[in-house]
């Protein structure tokens, strides 16, 4: 029983990571934009949704007590706006300025989460976030599986929408811009606008994931959104296969499993006072893995598929 409940808990979190990964795949996999501030966009979504849905409290602004669905939509919207602004600032410049600026906004937003206490609860975070299926919370098994079903359904819907988008004219132009900007431009496409759209869409999905995670766990605080999270999500996408939506989901589940297993192994093997130290080895392993993959198998487990318009029939050459 306990294992079943834990499995559902684990998989629900893996689903929320899959959503972040799908968002990153729109930015990096489809469009080639390197976002080093994933954690910030997830965090903005989480805090937005929490502000909208928690009941009013005297020591905090916000707390509108709105339904969770409204929180989700708000989260995606606000994250999209933040990504749009960052994109508008940097996408016309050299490609790695986006990386540096997203790295910067992650640090700036982390400071905001920590210091604007009237909005975010400061370092103590916000608890008692309304949860989906909160009425069956007493039954852990039912509660966890209901949440898993919801998160999984969301992943499936997002997957279908994103696959459809990737095959749509919009998706094809996006890849054209990624592969050869000058050629796309000479065909009358506007690379800057397309990149900006993709970056904002990816940001919106990450914000949504942050909201889903916050409402599932029921508590958020600034340390949830450290650069560590960005790093994990990148490892997931590169392992799974950037450019492939199925790969993004597979990578998220796989890397999260490796992370959770090695974490419990460390708590078994090492004495309590050495565990923080041993946990840093986990990060070393993931970092080395990321570098080795970039060297030996940059396409990941599931490489990007050639997609062309469905109106042209199936391709025979590969």
């Amino acid at each position: 029983m306990e294992y079943l409940a834990y499995a559902a808990f684990f998989l629900t979190l893996a689903m929320t990571f899959s959503i972040i990964c799908l968002g990153l795949n729109v930015q990096w996999g489809q469009t080639g934009l390197f976002n080093v501030g994933v954690a910030a966009f997830v965090g903005v979504g989480a805090y937005t949704s929490v502000l909208l849905t928690t009941p009013a409290t005297p020591d905090r602004i916000g707390g509108f007590g709105l339904p969770i669905a409204v929180g989700w939509i708000g989260a995606a919207g606000v994250s999209a706006v933040v990504s749009f602004l960052v994109g508008a600032l940097t996408l016309r410049l050299r490609s790695d300025y986006l990386a540096i600026t997203t790295f910067g906004i992650a640090i700036a937003l982390q400071l905001c989460f920590q210091n604007i206490e009237v909005l975010t609860g400061g370092v103590f975070g916000v608890g008692f976030i309304p949860r989906a299926f909160g009425s069956v919370q007493a039954n852990a098994l039912l509660f966890n599986y209901a949440n898993l079903a919801l998160a999984a359904a969301l992943v499936v819907v997002l997957y279908l929408v994103l696959e459809h988008l990737a095959r749509s004219p919009w998706g094809r132009v996006l890849r054209a811009v990624r592969e050869d900007e000058a050629a796309a431009q000479s065909l009358g496409k506007n690379p800057a606008a397309l990149r900006l759209q993709a970056f904002a869409l990816g940001g919106a999905i990450m914000g949504l994931a942050g909201a889903v995670q916050a409402h599932f766990v029921g508590f958020i605080s600034p340390p949830n959104y450290l650069p560590m999270l960005t790093f994990q999500v990148w490892a997931m996408l590169i392992v799974g296969g950037s450019g492939n939506n199925m790969g993004a989901i597979l990578g998220a589940v796989l890397v999260w499993a490796i992370w959770a297993l090695s974490g419990s192994l460390i708590s078994e093997v090492f004495p309590a006072d050495q565990q923080a130290r041993a946990a840093s080895l986990q990060i070393v392993v993931i970092g080395v893995m990321l570098c080795l993959l970039l060297l030996w198998r940059p396409q990941g487990l599931l490489p990007e598929r050639q997609t062309i318009s469905k109106h042209l029939g199936t391709r025979h050459d590969t």
Partner: protein
Amino acid sequence: MSFQAIIDGLIAGTTIGLGAIGLTLTYSILRFANFTHGDFLAWGAYLTLSVSGFLGGLVASLGVTTPLGPFSFGWGLPVSLIIGITLTILLTMALDKLLFGRLRRRGADAIIIVMASFGASMALRSLLEFIYTANPQYLTRELQIAEPLGLGMRATPDQLLTIGLTAVLVVALNLFVTRTPMGRAMRAVSENPALAGVYGIEVQRVIRVTWIIGAGLACVAGVMSGLLVQIRPYMGFDLLLPLFAAAILGGVGSIPGAVIGGLIIGLAEAFAVQIFGAEWRAGVAFIVLVLVLLVRPTGLFGRPS
């Protein structure tokens, strides 16, 4: 508002400026934004700390830690620093050989190399945390009195030394880059690597020299920061955004630009601490970065790309 903020800002700015020189050189010559550069500062500080601890154990009787003149450290520290610089250079060379060099030869996109540097940075930083734990460490336990400088400003001899040392290093490096054949070769590679290669410049040698300068200065900056504040595994990561902001503010590729950018960021941070409080210090570099990208993306001394 007190004039002390000027001194505090200049001192923090020298560390940022020295670190930013290496970053701006790798950025313009190897053509990628190196996210591991902050960790070179931290590794430089820890390597020097280890050497200095080893030296202290080896020849304790020779007074390696007896303070030199007005400073808080003995002759052990300068010696350790030189060994630390060598070790930091070896570390970056190894990283270039194992990772960046391979990706470069494969013709990987600059952005893939940036990503690899991001992964390597996480690994390097966590390795420090594993080896030395997250507890802060100190290069010296001596206390220093801040001497009055006039106008209500005070600074310790160590702090004045770091400002002086930075000035000497920057002038020497600028002479090297502008007056020697190697410096000319470096500028040529940063303009156009293929053309420089055709002209007979050994691009590999230029790359090696770039790492040597960058790693050496990173180690010096890390040790300075360790001497004046403390040594932590995250010290380099916390400096990374100020380093990038300084390099871009000064104009990518410009050595005086990186130093002036570093000083401006250091001063802006010191004044922000006085006005808004210390908890917002880390946000200053981001604001500067956004302003530069909005107003003048090529930086103060940068060429339009």
